[in-house]
Symmetry: C2
Subunit: 210 residues, 2 copies
């Protein structure tokens, strides 16, 4: 399988972790997002959204949207589970994942930051926008796992929530967010960093890292 | 079950449709979003994100995030299916749903529009932002179903993709988006409007409609 992505894209990062946890090895094709590679005709033919990642299967089928890709991995390679078996527990994990993947990341991604700059916001205001969105969002995430005991977001099995959290923490650091307010999230981040699937997926270890 | 929501919230609207399709009757509690009801202490205790919707089950369990709620409905009330059975087909439907729920809606929702106004954008610029995000996003969605024959997004069974599309078309109309460029999406919207579950879920038919 080939992952069309970018080392720093948090959505690509999620898929890298999930594939590693499932034992799926990936070829990688890199798209420099600031240069707009993801809006080339060739890539738009793969993914009309013009966003990374896209997962190209060996038969040519192309899957998009990191959470949809991860659900597909979960359905086709059940072990190790990335979602618990109980429906309520699954809903809680998915809600946490969506609190990041739908409510933080899309509002602070490069596309939105470029658009803000186009509306006249200076660099400090644009970066401040990202930091505010991340701080508010992680504040809610900290509360969503307030009754959990770790070491991972939802107990002693790593899964979808952790896969979304760790890259978002990475983005938080890039934007200078004060992470001291999120002790549970940071403990999860530290626990995940001990796992090879997470350690190998960090942006700095990718072939296209700048 | 009680749905904590708002008549105009597209995420609440999705859950209204899904529950109707599954035959689940709902009590409703309304939160005036412009007034900030969703940030009251009472509501934050239910949902730390301070966003609607939240689905409160009869035993007091609270589920959040519309897509997580709908996946829970699908897992606990399998019929009628809102997702196909084939894993690739499921991934395509989920990707379409996320293209709306993660990449359009969060970037044009009230919270972001308020923040833009706070950064000095005037009303025309703020509404233009929303219209641009929706236009670009629906353009990609139109292409994601280019090879589909209808009447619904993915064939002759209504499901998760349609549940996300119809409220987003509603938002597009509010922001004056030119919908003529999206003939396949509009045909799906028209087909869904014939179904009671969709017709009854429109904002204008809710008790809290203004």
């Amino acid at each position: 399988m080939k992952l069309h992505g970018f080392f720093r894209s948090t959505a690509s990062w999620r898929v890298r972790i999930a594939c590693a946890l499932k034992g799926v090895s990936l070829d990688h094709q890199s798209y420099k997002l600031r240069r707009g590679d993801q809006r080339s005709d060739a890539y738009l033919a793969l993914n009309p959204q013009g966003l990374v990642p896209a997962l190209e299967l060996d038969d040519g089928t192309v899957l998009t949207q990191s959470l949809a890709i991860i659900e597909w991995l979960e359905e086709t390679i059940p072990e190790p589970h990335l979602l618990p078996s109980d429906p309520i527990a699954r809903a809680k994990v998915r809600a946490f994942a969506l609190a990041i993947a739908a409510d933080i990341h899309p509002v602070q991604n490069l596309k939105v930051l470029f658009a803000l700059a186009g509306h006249g916001l200076d660099e400090a205001a644009v970066n401040g926008w990202a930091a505010t969105v991340i701080t508010e969002g992680l504040g809610a995430c900290e509360k969503l796992i307030a009754d959990q005991d770790g070491p991972y977001c939802f107990g002693d099995t790593v899964g979808l929530a952790d896969i979304c959290l760790v890259p978002q923490i990475g983005n938080a650091k890039r934007f200078g967010v004060d992470l001291a307010a999120f002790p549970k999230l940071m403990a999860v981040d530290a626990a995940c960093a001990q796992l090879p699937a997470f350690a190998d997926a960090v942006p700095g270890r990718q072939a296209d890292a700048e």
